[in-house]
Point group: C2
Chain length 391, copies 2
């Protein structure tokens, strides 16, 4: 009756996947107090670093994204999550900028995460992996940026959790961030968002194949729990209007309802499909850790309760972008950040894009969004002296 995927072999990171790896020797002091490391960061680059090392843009990925921003995904073969933005002459112009995208700490695509082998036990970390924060992810990225010899990033940008990282970068390393573009983001995770994340985590942990987190050792995978988590989350990424426009009450390959529990409606079939394909490319424990990092994110709390204080004296140029139909990270969240930046006398612009694309609009072909991001970057590039001729 249920078509959600049965337990299958867990997915492992594959050393043959394309891309770079940085082995970080010096342990990282995490927010939880643990000195973590040595560890690995897996990352991709696009374009060329110029002689002044002044044209680097750090792309920060969202919850279930990864470093393959503009390459085909090594498991699914699908185009990278920002492929349509990246390339010669595109918004993220590889003739002009050097793009870096790293898998986040806690991830499952090559950077250290709960699926890695714990040197202390010789077994996968599972829940012995330390709970990480957005700031920890950014600390790890800083190591990578230092390794690449870049003292000042031209820009840090990303959508959703990627936007949280962009904010954290600007707050933690202001001298290293010339411009920041947090998209569809927030300075703290809301109660509703924590609630949705908790549903996903409970769905995973309720799956007996989760095995208390030690499913890799057991040769199992909590595929059904992870699929349910993805289904619930996926609804929050779309607007009600888009769901209505795309699916409405349309039936799936049938002319009438079947009076049963098969996927009569297209929206059901679509959601089940989203759940099923997700488990082939994502690790359940990484999902727990990364959602937790989002829940813990509260930039004001890191600065004595004042968001403005997080940006005191900042020289970074900010552009905030939100989407009208995004109810997961609504425009009000971006406005709160703009207010704090204004209070800190920062250089900030803010654009709300009209779309029914919902939260996922930052991954869609949204011409106004592309124009906004491209225009802001070009303006900043001029201020930075990044003419094309100099590349």
């Amino acid at each position: 009756m249920s078509v959600l995927t049965s337990p299958r072999s867990p997915r492992h990171w594959d050393p043959n996947w394309p891309g770079h790896r940085l082995f970080v020797e010096e342990p990282l002091r995490l927010d939880c107090g643990v000195d973590f490391g040595p560890f690995t960061i897996a990352y991709q680059t696009y374009g060329k670093l110029n002689a002044l090392r002044s044209n680097a843009i750090l792309l920060c990925h969202a919850l279930t994204g990864d470093q393959y921003a503009a390459d085909p995904h090594p498991i699914t073969g699908k185009p990278g999550w920002w492929s349509s933005l990246v390339g010669p002459g595109e918004v993220l112009d590889t003739d002009r900028y050097f793009l870096i995208c790293a898998n986040v700490l806690g991830g499952c695509m090559g950077t250290a995460g709960p699926g890695d082998i714990d040197p202390a036990s010789g077994e996968p970390f599972a829940l012995d992996f330390p709970v990480i924060t957005i700031r920890d992810m950014v600390r790890a990225q800083k190591r990578l940026v230092d390794h690449l010899g870049i003292s000042s990033l031209f820009c840090v940008t990303g959508g959703s959790m990627g936007g949280m990282q962009a904010l954290e970068w600007a707050a933690s390393y202001p001298e290293s961030v010339f411009a920041a573009v947090p998209i569809a983001a927030a300075a703290r995770h809301s109660a509703q968002n924590i609630a949705f994340n908790e549903v996903g985590r409970q769905a995973i942990m309720a799956d007996p194949d989760w095995c208390g987190g030690r499913y890799l050792l057991a040769g199992r995978q909590p595929a059904r729990g992870l699929a349910v988590a993805r289904m619930a989350a996926h609804i929050t990424y779309l607007s009600e209007a888009a769901l209505h426009r795309k699916f409405g009450r349309n039936l799936q390959d049938r002319h009438a309802v079947t009076y049963g529990f098969d996927a009569d409606f297209q929206v059901e079939s679509y959601l089940r499909h989203q759940g099923n394909i997700f488990v082939d490319r994502f690790d359940a424990n990484s999902y727990l850790y990364i959602t937790r990092a989002m829940d813990y994110f509260d930039l004001a709390a890191e600065h004595g309760g004042s968001l403005a204080r997080a940006f005191t004296g900042t020289q970074t140029r900010f552009c905030l972008i939100s989407f009208t139909s995004d109810w997961l990270f609504p425009t009000a969240e971006s406005r709160a950040i703009v207010r704090a930046l204004n209070a800190a006398a920062a250089n900030v612009s803010f654009v709300e894009i009209e779309t029914d694309g919902g939260h996922d609009a930052f991954l869609l072909h949204e011409p106004e969004f592309f124009k906004t991001l491209g225009g802001f970057l070009s303006g900043c590039a001029e201020h930075r002296g990044l003419t094309r001729d100099q590349q």
Copy 2:
């Protein structure tokens, strides 16, 4: 790590629970084509039926509600879901009206549902129970109303799925409904709502203790799947504003986050609690069947695609009530019904109540809502000649 409830004994309907039972001998022709029955309807009444049998109000319960609208729940001991509305001199004035509330077909509180014994097999129906619709629920209620000798209900009302039933009553038995008050309802389930229901169903069906639906026979209960389903649904019942006001990012009995997967945040603890207590009072298969009935509901489709046609020539007095912060059944859904009623030249009033209570506002103490419902009923009572003296 997970505090969601472990499998426990399934809950059974108990013949010692208070209330009335009607044994319906003549089978009911269901929308799916099955002739179902004989079967039982469990119901409660409050107040007294007058001599003219003209003062009966049918209260229709929501997805996880039941017939105990104003009695303590026999399992939880908590007050009935509309206790604050029911009583002498209250909005649903038991000195004036005779209130009837029946457990819906497919339910688990005494009316025939998937947990009942299938006479054909001698085992619980499980998924052999026919898939029912809102119209089937109403057909069953009509049998009860006929049995009580009531040819015309003074009013049919209810919130959410209860509102769907009120609409269906007015459309199917217009001559039997003097007034109808659909609250926080819709004339068809939206794609987003179907999607959320599907997440809940998949969470249940993904639980190995669901046993392909035959958990009662196996002496098990898909408690964790049902709890996850409830958690996901519960978020949709509340507004973002109320979640923020009630919980925000407050921590649960601690001064700092624990860097773990315990319920650090109050909103997590609250949701887990909601999931855990739900499985003690509700049946997983009933949850599947009743959500399915909601998904299938499309009143216009039952009338050749025209909602107005569902109400052609109606003499029923309608009052539609919606809540500003309800994003599950938003005001736009009620407006669409009002437009259709206007097109049918029906007698209709419509009030949108300002509240941050979300969809669940119809279960909360909302003075404006109480005043609206009470005022409408009093006005209709005068037209119906229901003076208090005549009671």
